[in-house]
Structures are given as C-alpha cells and as structure tokens.
C-alpha cells in the first residue's frame, strides 16, 4: 500500500527527503496522501500550498500542483489559487510557527471567510527548520533554544482560535493515530468551507532532545498515552484532562462558502442589470 502510494504520489527524484530520522513529518504527509487517494480526486486538480519550515518542505516531494511560498503566507497564496479557480482542491501544509505565529492573521481571515481550503498544521511545538526555537504552541514550562529556562507563555489552543474565527471544520489528530488522522483529513477535504486539522507531531531532534522526551518511539508512545478521544473526554472532569490531548472532530458545520457566495453575487448582478 505505502509503496504504491509513494510510486503514485511522490516525486521520486526528490527523495530521500530532508527530514531527520524519527521525524513524524513523513507520517503526516503520508496521511494527507492517503486521504487524497481514498477520495479519488486525482492529482491534476489538487494544489498543495505550503509555507516555510521543515513541515512545509513536504510540498516539494508531492506530485501535485505544488506551491512552496513564503514564511506564514501559504493560506494567503492558497486563497488566491482557490478564488481564481474554485474547481481546484486546495490543501495547505503548514507548521505551528508558520501558521500560529507569523501567519496567524491569514489563518484567522481565511477561517472568517470560510473559503474552501483545507489546512493541515504539523504541530511539533517548535521551529524545527531554524533549530528548535519556541513556537506559540509550546506547552508552558517546556524548553526550547529561545526558552532555555522553560517557556513562560500560556498554553495556546489554536483549534479554539479556528473555531472562534469561523472555521467550519476543526479537528485534531496525532502522528500516532494514523488511521484517524487520515479520516480527519479526508473529511476536511470533502467538507465545503474552511477546514483545519491540527496534526500533533514529534520533533525528536530539537523538542524531544531538549525536553528529554526519549526516542522517537517514546515520543509517539507519549502521544498514544496522552491522547483522549473527544467523546470520551466529554465524560471526564477538567482535572482529569489536564495536560491531555483531545483528539477528534470539534466542529463540522455548514455555512456559506466564500467562492460560492461571490459567484452567487455575480449571478444576482446579472439579473439586476437585465
């Protein structure tokens, strides 16, 4: 299965990838590929747009129409692609620094417009590409090169931000729970409107090492042991959920989508001019 997918969806000449051994970027990228494959949308109408970071390098390996942009701006580029040609399936690959820090404003506004784009954020708590600095999603008191004594920032839940900004599909999965992650991405892509999937990832090289999280396998096991399904979590007390990762679908609602609304406006204008 995996080898067929590599054969079909990856640009062989670009492999091997630049990622460190044990990095989960490959797992999450494969989950996206599986989701696209399951949906049978073909390769020609898929556009993958990414920002800058280890995770964002994924676009170059994939045999779609791919656009590797500037740091934080992938969603703004993707908005141009989607609005110009709404027939295209537009998927954004981004990191936690890319999307939650420098690109935060574009994220908010794309969610607000409910433009039909699917954003997959590889969340490894740090800036991998630049060597392990703290990102806005670093857990409080965890260490990074720019937070050598532990981060004093409060925890930041970007899924809540997405919901608040108006995203109509919001989910969280992990690099350990691959089957579920594939399903969440699949549903995000099928969903009409702005979809956001936060993929909890691991960076053994920087975040793992600095915070003594053990081997890549230990880190994946940590994801397994500390994740709680949203349905189960609903029956648990807040104290029990302290420090846990809630996974599953948070929001899946219908709302007017931006490119369709524009088209409707154009049709209305045609009538009113006649």
């Amino acid at each position: 299965m995996a080898s067929r997918l590599v054969e079909e969806y990856f640009r062989k000449e670009t492999l091997p990838n630049i990622w460190c051994p044990g990095c989960s970027n490959g797992i999450v990228t494969m989950a996206i590929v599986r989701a696209i494959d399951n949906l049978k949308i073909g390769k020609d109408k898929v556009v993958v747009v990414s920002g800058i970071g280890c995770s964002s390098r994924a676009s170059g390996y994939l045999d779609f129409n791919t656009l590797h942009t500037t740091h934080g701006r992938a969603i703004a580029f993707a908005t141009g692609v989607k609005f110009a040609n709404p027939e295209l399936t537009v998927i954004v690959i981004t990191g936690d620094g890319d999307n939650a820090a420098i690109g935060g404003n574009h994220f908010i506004h794309a969610a607000r417009r409910n433009i039909d784009i699917t954003v997959v954020m590889y969340n490894n708590h740090i800036y991998g590409m630049t060597g392990g600095q703290a990102s806005p999603t670093i857990p409080r008191y965890d260490k990074a090169t720019t937070a050598p004594y532990g981060s004093i920032d409060r925890d930041f839940d970007i899924c809540k931000l997405a919901i608040g900004a108006g995203a109509t599909y919001v989910a969280r999965g992990t690099a350990y729970h691959v089957q579920q992650l594939v399903k969440l991405i699949e549903k995000g892509i099928s969903h009409k409107g702005f979809s956001f999937i936060k993929a909890m990832s691991i960076c053994p090289t920087y975040y793992g090492r600095r915070n003594k999280k053990g081997s890549p396998a230990d880190m994946l096991k940590w994801l397994k042991d500390n994740s709680i399904d949203i349905n189960k979590a609903a029956k648990m007390k807040p104290e029990e959920l302290e420090g846990k990762i809630i996974i599953g679908e948070f929001v899946n609602i219908e709302a007017p989508e931006y490119t369709e609304e524009y088209q409707k406006m154009v049709e209305r204008l045609k009538v009113s001019v006649k």
Binding site: K43, G60, N65, R73, F77, T79, N105
Partner: protein, 373 residues
C-alpha cells in the same frame, strides 16, 4: 477620468481578472473600482487582511491562470516586498501599482512624492531585476497599465507601476478609442506539455507558464530551483538561475524601455524627470525657452531598467543636465551613473509633500547657472 480609474480601465482591457488589495490613500480608488467592475467582466475581487496577503493572493491567482493586480502606497508597498521577491524568483506574472505618497513611514498620506524610486528597484532582498513603469498623464496611465500586463506576461515577472498622488487623482479626458487595436499579450500554452519544464531558458530567457490544474504538475518555490522548479543547493544551478533572472530583463532592455523626448536635441539644458514632475518641467521648459535657453527633456516611462543606452546618446549634446524629482535625489544616482562627465548632473528636489511649480524649477536652474555653465 481619474488616473487611478485609468489604471483600472487599462488593467481590465489588458485582461486583468483578479484583484486583491488593502485600502490605502492615495490608491484606494483602484480597489474600489475593481470591486465595482470585476464582477461584470467575469473577474474576481477580494479585499485581503493586509498587503502581504494581497501580494500573496495575486501570485496564487496568477498561477491559477488569471491576470492579477494589486495596488497600494508606500506603507503597503513596504509590506509587499518579500512576496514581490517571491514573484521575481518563481517568475509569476503580476502587476503591482504603487501610488506614491510622501514618506517615510506614514508621512503625509494625501501628499504627493516620488520617494519610492529606489524601493521599487531594490525593495526586496537579493539580486534580481524588475520592470518599473511611471506614467505622467491619465492617458498614459491607461497605456502603461496595458503594457505592464504585457511585459509581465512576456517576461514572467512582477511589474510595478510607479504612480504618484498627482497622477492618481488627476482628472483628464481620455479617448480610449485611440488604443482600439493595441496588442494584448496572452499566456501561450505550449503544444508539447509532456516535456514541460517551467523554468527552462527558452524564449527571451523564459518558458511559458502553464496554469495549475491543466494537467501539468510542477513545483513552484522561492528556493533556488532547477528547470523543473525543484529545490537544489547546486551552486552552478544557482548561478545560472540568478543570471537568467537578471538577464531576461537587462538583455531585453531595448524591448522593455519606453521614454519620451521633447524640445531641443542639443543645447544648454537637458531636463530628466518622470511621472507628474515632468509636467512642471514641461512648463519650466517653455519659460526658459522664452528667455533664450535651448532646452530638451528626456522623460523615462520605464524607470527600471533605466533607458541608459538612449540617454548616453543624447546627453553629450547638452551643457548641463538637471534631474528633477519629488524626493531628495534617487533617479539622480542612476543618471549620474550613466553620464560620464564629472559634476555635470545637478538635482532639483522637493520632498515636503508639495508639488513642484514651474517657477521654482526655473529659478533653481537659473541660480545654478548664474556663474555660467
């Protein structure tokens, strides 16, 4: 018609079907008119959250197959710079209008200036070339906008239209029929898409651009890339790429440059100015002529690449060269580079948010030559 309106009319005529922007004086009318008109011509208008996003969106739209434009002024132009560099590196055609206002920073938002001459050339980091056009009338704004789209498609490059507040808000009558059969350059889709290489050095140093979704899948990146668009650290490929990006503009300069000349072909004074300033210069020329001076005017419409070949031909026939601009001296440096006569280039500047009057130009010229040429 207003200058800003002429830009919109010209853009639509040239085939612009995507506009993304963020409001800023004195460019806002361009966004407003695009919002009003584009839905009726099958085009798309989107108000983005900022100028960084606007620039990003037009690049995305261009890759998806639409001719795209944004418009702004100084502060927004500063924000666009990183993505302008992306468009230059990834060779994505697009048009950026900068209706200059007085700066730096917020400066005087409603006052004219020409302070972005160097920024339009070197605003984004790294070695690159870019095309910058500056109209000096409403009619020319229409014409220049069409050429901006043509050049951006032909050379797969961002093109900047460097306007200023005076031209942006000026009202003049324009007869658009005059441009009835003007050529519009469309994107060609090559027949052999099997072996398509988006970054191959073909015609004029550029390959045709096939939009996303047409069955040819390729990679677009701001990283140094090979002919397929895939990233590489190969220094030879890097060298070749940067050279090609610069050469495709510099080596085709004679096709790209536009300029106008007026007055004497030889004589005492050669004025060099562009945009709205050249109108005050033309009035000053009339005045000086009456007083017996022999005066010529050289007005680049293409500022970058600078029409140096032409200037080299004409300047030796004049005794003194005056570069007149609404800044502290920017195009002056380029003219000084071209003119190989020590101390012969003088600048006449104004950077207080006020438009030049012909009188003050005349006075300044006379003062500088009072002890002879």
């Amino acid at each position: 018609m207003q200058g800003n309106e002429a830009v919109v009319e010209g853009a639509i005529r040239a085939g612009m079907r995507f506009y993304a922007g963020y409001p800023i004086t004195p460019s806002t009318e361009i966004a407003e008119l695009c919002a009003e008109k584009l839905p009726f011509v099958g085009g798309k208008f989107i108000q983005m959250e900022d100028e960084i996003a606007s620039m990003a969106a037009i690049i995305g739209a261009s890759l998806a197959g639409l001719k795209a434009m944004t418009a702004t002024s100084g502060p927004g132009f500063s924000l666009m710079q990183e993505n302008i560099g992306f468009a230059a590196m990834a060779e994505v055609p697009c048009v950026v209008v900068d209706v200059q206002r007085m700066g730096p920073s917020t400066g005087m938002p409603t006052s004219p200036a020409q302070g972005d001459v160097m920024q339009s050339r070197w605003g984004t980091h790294g070695d690159h070339s870019i095309i910058v056009l500056s109209p000096s009338s409403v009619k020319e704004a229409y014409y220049v906008t069409i050429q901006a789209f043509n050049l951006s498609e032909k050379y797969r490059t961002p093109v900047v239209i460097l306007m200023d507040e005076v031209i942006g808000h000026l009202r003049e009558t324009v007869n658009l029929d005059e441009y009835g059969d003007i050529e519009i350059i469309e994107r060609k889709i090559p027949e052999d898409i099997e072996n398509y290489l988006p970054y191959k050095d073909i015609e004029n140093g550029v390959a045709p651009l096939i939009p996303f979704g047409k069955g040819v899948r390729y990679h677009v990146t701001g990283l140094v890339h090979n002919e397929k668009g895939l990233p590489t650290n190969d220094t030879k490929i890097a060298e070749r790429l940067i050279k090609r990006l610069v050469d495709k503009i510099e080596k085709n300069k004679e096709d790209i440059v536009m300029y106008k000349e007026k007055g004497e072909k030889e004589g005492d004074i050669l004025f060099i100015s562009f945009g709205s300033t050249s109108r005050a210069v033309e009035a000053a020329e009339e005045e000086l002529k009456k007083e017996g001076f022999k005066v010529g005017i050289f007005r680049p419409i293409t500022i970058w690449p600078f029409p140096d070949t032409r200037l080299r031909k004409i300047y030796p026939k004049f005794r003194k060269i005056f570069v007149v601009e609404m800044n502290r001296g920017q195009l002056y440096y380029e003219v000084d580079r071209v003119v190989k006569r020590e101390g012969e280039v003088e600048n006449i500047n104004k950077a207080n948010g006020e438009f030049f009057t012909p009188c003050e130009i005349v006075e300044k010229v006379k003062e500088r030559i009072k002890n002879g040429f």
